[in-house]
Symmetry: C2
Subunit: 442 residues, 2 copies
């Protein structure tokens, strides 16, 4: 159970890193950075963020509470924890979006569910969810699963996306650097799908690249953010005594795309001893059962969902239940800082669905090795806690900040590029020549 689901959601915001401070002068937290003139120092220049789309007001209240003026700002520390690097700050500015893109959306969401109008915007309840952007109220791709009332006319998601882009493209800060210096949350795999080609210059905060093309999003430009974990954090210490089950999974057996592997895994696992594998849909009751299962198992299965990522991985991590990842195309949050081989076991799909393979592999893991994994899980758990001041939100901004040199490069370059004969699109790539392993377990 999540005690404050609405505050767990990360900010949903496009952000700017302009080459000069915005015209409505912000209150200066870091005058050094904003008055700096040398190109060398531009790495540390103020950043301008605009609050965007639906959940932005959570950003205001949660991360950067500000009075209701045009732009708000905050300064974010980059790099490590050393107190001597106070000069290393990036500045984020938030757009104060028109109400129809913030409270207005939530209002429609509530109205569509028969909610009464409220007197004060502060009384509107932000729908808690594994995705910050999940409040795409009427998601046209899967309306059947959303259990929405018939009062749909109140809100048109596609139209709202178009309207938002129209508004954004009029903004001086958007035009200034062609969007390169904006940060945009679109964690739901369908978020902003209608306008993604128009926002793609920005740093996108996403769950994975399942529905995004290579020229829209990538590890280089964007940030993979964790889902909000949906079950309780395990507060106990490392150990095996209370973890009698070998492997646990509970979730939807039937998914689309890469998620089809789930049914295959059910087939090979459901009759294995010490393995608990259950079909279950989202509900408070299931979450309670999942908490219980994850807190009492050594390993937790993480198969792909409709896209390569799913919230279950993060549930497992905060449960100190060693994730067994069967999702060949998964991308992971903060992978520059976290060596996932130390906290999880990766198994390729065909190995995992070969009868007997997976349990045999897991049974071979020694108690000592399990404790090592648990110890590492405990160390990195904070990265997946949105509420920890030293947790997810801070880490997301560190990741964003590490992209500043590339953002500056692309902004400068775009403006001087001349008309060219190109045989293919103008892309800078980082290509892996890794052929892959069957499992990281040794």
């Amino acid at each position: 159970m999540n005690p404050r689901p609405k505050l767990r959601s990360p900010p949903l915001a496009p952000a700017f890193f302009p080459s000069s401070p915005p015209s409505p002068p912000p209150s200066s937290h870091n005058s050094k950075a904003s008055t700096s003139k040398m190109p060398r120092k531009s790495l540390l220049r103020p950043t301008l963020a605009i609050t965007c789309f639906l959940a932005l007001f959570t950003l205001y209240s949660f991360l950067f509470y500000t009075p209701p003026n045009y732009t708000s700002n905050t300064s974010i520390k980059l790099g490590n924890h050393d107190s001597s690097d106070a000069s290393k700050k990036a500045r984020i500015y938030l757009y104060d979006l028109p109400r129809r893109f913030t409270y207005g959306v939530i209002e429609s969401y509530a109205a569509a569910r028969g909610g009464e109008p409220v007197e004060n915007d502060a009384l509107l309840k932000y729908p808690g969810n594994q995705h910050s952007a999940e409040c795409l109220v009427v998601n046209p791709i899967r309306p059947a699963t959303m259990n929405v009332s018939h009062d749909r006319a109140a809100y048109n998601d596609e139209q709202t996306q178009e309207d938002l882009m129209e508004w954004l493209e009029e903004q001086v800060y958007w035009k200034r650097n062609n969007g390169w210096d904006h940060v945009i949350i679109c964690q739901d795999p369908n978020a902003l799908y209608k306008v993604i080609d128009r926002v793609k210059n920005g740093v996108l905060l996403v769950s994975d690249f399942g529905r995004l093309a290579r020229n829209q999003a990538s590890l280089v430009k964007d940030v993979i953010m964790p889902y909000s974990h949906r079950i309780k954090t395990y507060e106990g210490d490392i150990g095996l005594e209370k973890r009698k089950s070998l492997l646990f999974f509970m979730g939807n057996r039937y998914r689309k795309e890469g998620g089809k592997i789930r049914d295959l895994l059910f087939h090979v696992l459901e009759n294995e001893r010490e393995v608990i594998i259950k079909h279950g849909a989202q509900s408070r009751e299931s979450r309670r059962a999942a908490s219980q299962g994850m807190h009492t198992s050594k390993f937790c299965l993480h198969p792909a969902g409709d896209t390569p990522s799913a919230c279950r991985l993060f549930d497992a991590i905060v449960s100190l239940c060693i994730p067994v990842i069967v999702s060949d195309h998964i991308e992971l949050p903060f992978e520059d800082a976290i060596d996932y081989r130390k906290i999880a076991i990766f198994v390729d799909s065909s190995t995992a669905v070969t009868p007997g393979n997976l349990v045999k592999l897991l049974r071979r893991v020694s108690p000592g090795k399990i404790l090592e994994f648990q110890k590492e899980l405990k160390k990195v758990k904070r990265y997946f806690e949105y509420e920890d001041p030293d947790g997810t939100v801070k880490e997301i901004w560190r990741q964003v900040a590490s992209k500043l040199p590339l953002i500056k490069l692309m902004s400068n370059r775009d403006k001087r590029i001349v008309v060219r004969d190109l045989v293919e699109q103008d892309c800078a790539c980082l290509c892996s020549n890794q052929s892959g392993v069957h499992t990281t377990l040794r």
Copy 2:
């Protein structure tokens, strides 16, 4: 005239950024970084560099003089000039390469030109050149232009490349991260061409991407470094009095590939008044004439060479002669820190070769605007001075260091990637959707 050509060349080195310090413990300049255990701090972990290929010993003597032990190291300050960020250091380790890849190459080079053997390696002369890697002695692609004697059997460049790779791939630090944390200089467009696919994971220090495929090198992974300027720095102040010519160019009229534009530019420019455009090959005498011309002209033409880049751009910058860049596919050094529109004029090829266009454009630039350009040139000049302690070498390492998060990400990711069905190569890209301008001059 370059008073110390051999010291102008930048280091030629592949470097590592290992997840743990190398086994031969280095003298610790920054014990804090090397003892750090938290994944969060790994950004600041020590870096391990290996000296590579031909010119490496200049790196030892010029940048990091060290006693002749196995590895040498230095710590490099990242970020801005603020003294408070002393903790932000990356550490570079240099391989002490077998002699045949360092002094041995220079020895062959000298022998092939009839030089006498020397008693002491310190007496060997490193051939000064616009490229650090230009000492590919017997460059098989253009032997005719190299004026090499018949004693070629002494050195086989392709074989040396193969031998170097064989040696490198045996090294524990290379194997540890599959080369991602190595820095490799290959500034000559042909440098390492024979083995480029085997070193491509590393951060390549290059002039441009003219002869490199998209999956070998890119703005994201690699660093564009400036050529060593070949003519004297202009030491005078900004101003127009001494700059009577409008536009100056001196260089080879006939080049391959994109360089074919040069002949077209000669045609449209050679009869224009106040324009000096001369065919000239490399020689001490030409360099003197070029210095004179660049120091007394307002604008200096920079057409593409065999590849999009050429040393002339950097000659122009240090001459405070505003570069007029006609090279549609040029990539520029340090473009995150330098807004080249402030120091140069970009004109697309077809606009530039239309008779009358270019001079008309340039004649319209007001004296005030020219002074502005000169002022900016003066500001950024240091970036192109290899000998300035606050110059090119420092900036190259800052660029390399800014890639640390991506290097760590790719190293970690490579090791846990499982066997996958891929429809295309596994690349993370940053794509520009810019259609381009005809000129940046407004």
